[in-house]
């Protein structure tokens, strides 16, 4: 009986081993995350004009960005990329493009401040935020990331580690692409224009 158990165990180990090595070494086609239909989707957050839903912008190409206003470098860079890509469009095309800056720092960023911040970059970019629960839900929906980090040695007090990506939403409201925060504005322009 003991002998049988040993063989059974050995068999299981062999199968497991084969499976593990297939998983690790077997050929794999990398699947872009956005090909996963579970990423993206509608959400509701607050803007200076009240609640806004992603579905309000059906028919428009939307660029979603998760950031915060006291982000000194990466967020303004992404906003400047969006501005340039938008400004390269014709007036008619411009009206079919929308940037959505989602602040993950509602304690510091009010909807009024967010409005002034985004308008500074483009009148086609809006700023939205919500309660922590609302924000966490959208962050999860889009596979984004943020984390508050205490900075005891800095006058900032705290900062936010964050994923810095531009989510491109097609006119049907579906996630079309996930782009780097410092994508070349000409490349972003080309990607937007493809839907217009």
């Amino acid at each position: 009986m003991r002998k049988f158990a040993t063989y059974a165990l050995l068999g299981v180990a062999l199968i497991l081993g084969a499976w593990v090595s297939f998983e690790l070494l077997g050929p794999k086609t990398p699947i872009p995350r956005y090909a996963n239909a579970s990423i993206g989707g509608d959400f509701t957050l607050n803007s200076v004009e009240g609640e806004r839903q992603l579905s309000d912008f059906k028919g428009e190409v939307v660029m979603i960005y998760f950031g915060f206003m006291s982000c000194p470098d990466v967020c303004p860079t992404s906003m400047a990329v969006m501005r340039q890509a938008i400004n390269e469009l014709s007036e008619e095309q411009r009206m079919k493009v929308r940037g959505v800056f989602i602040s993950v720092d509602p304690e510091r960023d009010t909807v009024d401040e967010l409005n002034a911040y985004t308008q500074y970059f483009s009148d086609r970019i809006i700023g939205v935020t919500g309660t922590k629960q609302q924000i966490d839900a959208v962050v999860k929906q889009y596979g984004a990331y943020y984390k508050f980090v205490q900075l005891d040695d800095s006058a900032l007090g705290y900062t936010v580690d964050h994923s810095a990506r531009i989510y491109l939403i097609d006119p049907d409201g579906q996630l079309a692409d996930i782009l780097a925060h410092d994508i070349n504005p000409a490349e972003l322009h080309t990607k937007i224009a493809a839907y217009l």
């Binding site: 206003m69 006291s70 982000c71 000194p72 470098d73 990466v74 303004p76 860079t77 400047a80 990329v81 340039q84 390269e88 401040e113 002034a116 911040y117 500074y120 970059f121 990331y145 980090v149 900075l151 040695d153 800095s154 006058a155 900032l156 900062t159 580690d161 964050h162 994923s163 810095a164 990506r165 925060h181 410092d182 070349n184 504005p185 000409a186 490349e187 080309t190």
Partner: protein
């Protein structure tokens, strides 16, 4: 004796020889209400010895700090750093997405076209007073080649 003035001149020039040279210094113009900004530049250490930027000051901000940005696993992290090392005879770029001088608690908005003062404090006990322009930091609309 007639070489004394030249010798003095030479020694003076050695003492005053800029150990570092700065190029492409600029500060980011900020949206209304924003109380932080960042300054960027290229810093070249012309000396044969290692130097470091230990800190900076500016009248436009309550605090001026040295910060680094790093991207790991798609996550952007910014942290304060104690110094920016300047290896002998080499150049360090302070640029968007990387090392920068952070201006925290702006006393007024930084508007494109103006000039601000920024002092760099160096490890050789000298400081460098800079006048730097405030500009829109644009990533640049490079045309794609196909």
């Amino acid at each position: 004796m007639k070489y004394l003035p030249i010798a003095l001149l030479l020694s003076a020039s050695i003492v005053n020889a800029a150990d570092i040279s700065i190029s492409d210094a600029r500060a980011r113009a900020v949206p209304p209400g924003a109380d932080i900004s960042a300054a960027f530049m290229n810093v070249k250490n012309n000396a044969a010895t290692d130097l470091a930027i230990l800190g900076a000051d500016s009248s436009v901000a309550e605090s001026v700090e040295l910060h680094s940005n790093s991207m790991a696993d798609g996550k952007m992290k910014m942290r304060r750093i104690d110094q920016i090392e300047l290896a002998a005879n080499s150049e360090v770029a302070l640029q968007p997405g990387g090392l920068h001088i952070m201006l925290i608690g702006l006393r007024r908005p930084l508007v494109e076209g103006e000039t601000i003062e920024l002092t760099l404090n160096l490890s050789n006990n000298t400081s460098e007073l800079l006048q730097i322009p405030v500009v829109h930091i644009e990533p640049g609309m490079k045309k794609m080649h196909h």
